[in-house]
């Protein structure tokens, strides 16, 4: 039995026990207090929403605002408040949100992503050649998961990959639950300056990648985008593009190695690949803590009164482990036929890069286990350094051998 907590003592984020399962308290809350208050690490409180249907309601209803500039918008990290003063468009409501998102969507359609697949495959092949030339154990995060996702997003945006150590280290500060507000501000300042310089270079010598297109088509004075808006948009894309996918690659690798029956099913029938990716997305729901909202008006959710101005956290992992939507949610099951998970969120803010993520994960998991059939984790999986308290869940380091 998990221990009952009260709003006063329930401090968020709630602790995990098993690294591959959401915090056990989510299950009790879902059953007994589906909308429940918790204390946030940055001070203040927010409502935790744990049922699948409620999470979908919060994320698709205009009653729950994504506008990060509203006073009292819930934050989990000390530096977040600074970003929310001038937030990227993912922390805006329609119509502003749609205005910015529509500048980007042509670059993320299924057809566009399909054209990127040969490039992603070549990147994965090359990185695995390099990895196999090394003597194990090798850190799969540093040697594979991060470079795959960083190289792909750098190519799409037009960010020089040679700068990856710089922006990865600063982005890491931005998503870590252990960073102070000062560290966060310093990292953000450096990232802004970097992106500002890059925008200038694209103005002087535009190429054909996304950043150049945004500069030539949308930046003031010719376009409608202020320089600081473009800057935050690009930083958001760069961060979202490398951090989340890298976490899915590392965690997904361990999850598959821990479920040899699922890996065997995939090996026997490669056509199951898209299904196993959807199931891994549901099972891991790494963006659990990302979908924060604020009530724009008084409302009610599963019988609980929520007042205008109160923070709400739609817990994606709680929704994706709701037995009402996914029977026996603790089972990783490729045959589940699961497409309705909310791992990419729901509503108009659903992940812009979701089909790029799917493509990367398909190429990665179809290639990794074929090229390295004897791949295994070099340490007990319970001892891996998991990213507890980070906005996106993942693994810091993943030593593997073969």
């Amino acid at each position: 039995m998990s221990q009952t907590t009260t709003p006063e003592s329930r401090s968020f984020p709630l602790p995990r026990q098993c690294p591959f399962a959401p915090p056990p308290e989510y299950g009790r809350l879902r059953a007994e207090e589906p909308v429940s208050k918790a204390r946030l690490p940055t001070g203040g409180t927010a409502w935790l929403v744990t049922r699948y249907e409620d999470v979908r309601t919060v994320l698709s209803s205009a009653v729950f605002s994504a506008d990060g500039t509203r006073p009292g918008f819930p934050t989990l990290l000390p530096g977040q408040a600074q970003v929310l003063q001038r937030p990227p468009f993912i922390r805006m409501d329609p119509p502003q949100h749609s205005f910015y998102r529509r500048m980007l969507i042509q670059e993320f359609t299924l057809k566009r992503i399909k054209t990127m697949r040969p490039g992603i495959q070549a990147t994965v092949n090359r990185l695995l050649d390099d990895l196999l030339a090394r003597t194990p154990p090798v850190d799969l995060v540093e040697a594979f998961a991060l470079p795959v996702s960083s190289l792909v997003i750098c190519q799409l945006l037009g960010v020089p990959y040679d700068d990856h150590e710089f922006f990865q280290s600063r982005s890491k500060v931005g998503v870590s639950g252990e960073s102070t507000a000062e560290q966060f501000a310093a990292a953000l300042g450096e990232l802004r300056a970097y992106m500002d310089g890059l925008i200038t270079r694209k103005q002087q010598e535009p190429g054909d990648e996304l950043l150049s297109k945004l500069v030539t088509e949308h930046l003031e004075p010719a376009g409608e985008l202020r320089r600081d808006e473009l800057l935050m948009m690009c930083l958001m894309l760069l961060n979202a593009g490398h951090e989340t996918t890298a976490n899915m690659i590392s965690l997904g690798t361990v999850a598959l190695l821990e479920h040899p029956d699922q890996l065997a099913a995939l090996r026997e029938n490669p056509e199951l690949l898209p299904d196993i990716i959807e199931e891994l997305l549901r099972y891991l729901s790494i963006a659990d803590l990302v979908t924060t909202r604020i009530a724009a008006e008084d409302t009610e959710l599963s019988g609980t009164r929520i007042r205008a101005g109160e923070g709400v956290i739609a817990l994606l992992a709680a929704a994706d482990w709701d037995p009402a939507a996914f029977p026996e949610p603790e089972r990783l099951d490729v045959h589940r036929g699961n497409r309705h998970h909310v791992a990419f969120g729901y509503g108009v803010h659903q992940c812009l890069g979701q089909n790029l993520a799917r493509a990367e994960l398909e190429v990665v998991f179809s290639t990794l286990f074929r090229r390295i059939p004897t791949l295994r984790v070099a340490v007990p999986v319970d001892e891996l350094p998991y990213k507890h308290g980070n906005l996106a869940y993942g693994i810091h380091e993943l030593p593997v051998t073969w």
Binding site: L59, S60, S98, R101, R102, I105, Q106, E107, F108, T109, L110, K111, R339, H340, F344, G345, Y346, G347, V348, Q350, C351, L352, Q354, N355, R358
Partner: protein
């Protein structure tokens, strides 16, 4: 069956074209939803209905 799309609401998540590729597509120029088969044949109706349910923005309607 009659499927309609509101392109002023569409956010181009691509769930429709991913789930029911014969029924839905995304326009090349703006990335927004295109309904290829507003009245899909019997064998595509179930996946078409699923695609409508999965649409995150509520841009699709089915009658």
């Amino acid at each position: 069956m009659r499927i309609t799309a509101d392109t002023t609401v569409c956010i181009s998540a691509g769930m429709c074209a991913l789930t029911a590729p014969g029924v839905f597509d995304q326009e090349d120029d703006d990335g927004l939803v295109a309904v290829l088969l507003p009245d899909p044949p019997e064998e595509l109706r179930e996946t078409a209905a699923e695609a409508v349910r999965l649409c995150p923005s509520g841009a699709l309607d089915i009658r």
